[in-house]
Symmetry: C2
Subunit: 205 residues, 2 copies
């Protein structure tokens, strides 16, 4: 999900990139070679212009916005920016970290949660994110074609990356009309469609 | 922890505020009256200048930085800003949301985790945050008196709020010299000391 956020943003900004897949299923994010890139052992990490690799997808979005202001992904006004960032954090802070692989692994290690319980956990927090997104976006006059007015923003990136992986986990969203509609609008954008996981380097066949 | 982040930032910016405590232990964040303020039923939420209430502590920090640029809490350079935001997210995204009350409650509801297991969960993720913070900060030439050079930033706010609540939970940090030292330096600052939980409105005696 976090890697997808960065991929969406790079495409929306029209920036070219080369992707080096990290095989999370086999723990490659903890190989010594990758830990030199990100000591936290997590993806994504991006290298740009000879600087040290950048980590943390939300920090990378802010970096891309500052370094490539064209095709703005934050509104021009202060109130709009705080709204977009707050919506983004519903996904990027409140709900997605709770279903991250290291957390799910710890459920097994510390609480002996079995496979079905771990899957239910993941699905619960995907659903919570969508549900909270709906509560925040529905009946808000600032919500329009996209999460914030008629321009794409960080919020659409964070919602859509969450929603499409939730869909892979068969998480129900049909009763959440606002988020369902916005995700559909986003996926009609070429920049989003081109970034989808099945198109990514290293994706399982 | 999230409320503490905002309190630290307001004090560092020298901004006056009135605090209205929300009794989380009795679920007051889900009262209809508070849900009008924040439909997500979470603290903090701040009201400024007649605008709709602001939610999500990390979005509020960005808002305060943009609206009150004096006593800057982000570095002036692009690389510095992405580093500070990435460190902040180790606490604000990767680890703190995982130990939030609603997550701990769900451990009980979905996995029948008992009180001791729930406490161990909270302590584990407090520790993980500090451990990952140490890995990120130690041996990095940009780490100095504080997380990023010699000026306070979002990263110090997020580290210190995490660390002082971790201490309340008796989480071990003596083997993490860099974070321990930086937290100690921060707490020598009047703006931090004045914001500590035992000084806050509505704190349990």
């Amino acid at each position: 999900v976090a890697t997808l956020r960065v991929r969406f943003a790079l495409n929306l900004k029209g920036l070219a990139y080369e992707e080096i897949p990290v095989d999370l299923a086999h723990g490659a994010q903890c190989d010594p070679e990758f830990l030199l890139v990100n000591p936290q052992g997590a993806v994504p990490a991006i290298a740009a212009g000879g600087a040290p690799p950048l980590t943390q997808s939300l920090a990378i979005l802010e970096y891309l916005e500052e370094s490539h202001p064209r095709s703005a992904l934050l509104p021009a006004d202060l109130q709009g920016r705080v709204r977009v960032r707050a919506i983004s954090l519903i996904f990027g802070a409140d709900n997605h970290p709770v279903l991250a692989p290291r957390v799910v692994r710890h459920l097994g290690d510390a609480l002996r949660a079995d496979g079905a319980q771990r899957l239910a956990w993941v699905r619960h927090w995907f659903r919570q994110g969508l549900f909270q997104g709906e509560a925040r976006l529905a009946n808000d006059p600032h919500t329009s074609r996209f999460c914030h007015g008629d321009a794409l923003s960080f919020a659409d990136i964070c919602l859509t990356s969450h929603a499409i992986v939730a869909r892979d986990f068969q998480v129900e969203a049909a009763d959440l009309p606002t988020v369902t509609r916005i995700v559909r609008m986003c996926l009609e954008e070429e920049a989003f469609e081109r970034a989808l996981p099945h198109r990514a380097a290293g994706a399982p066949a």
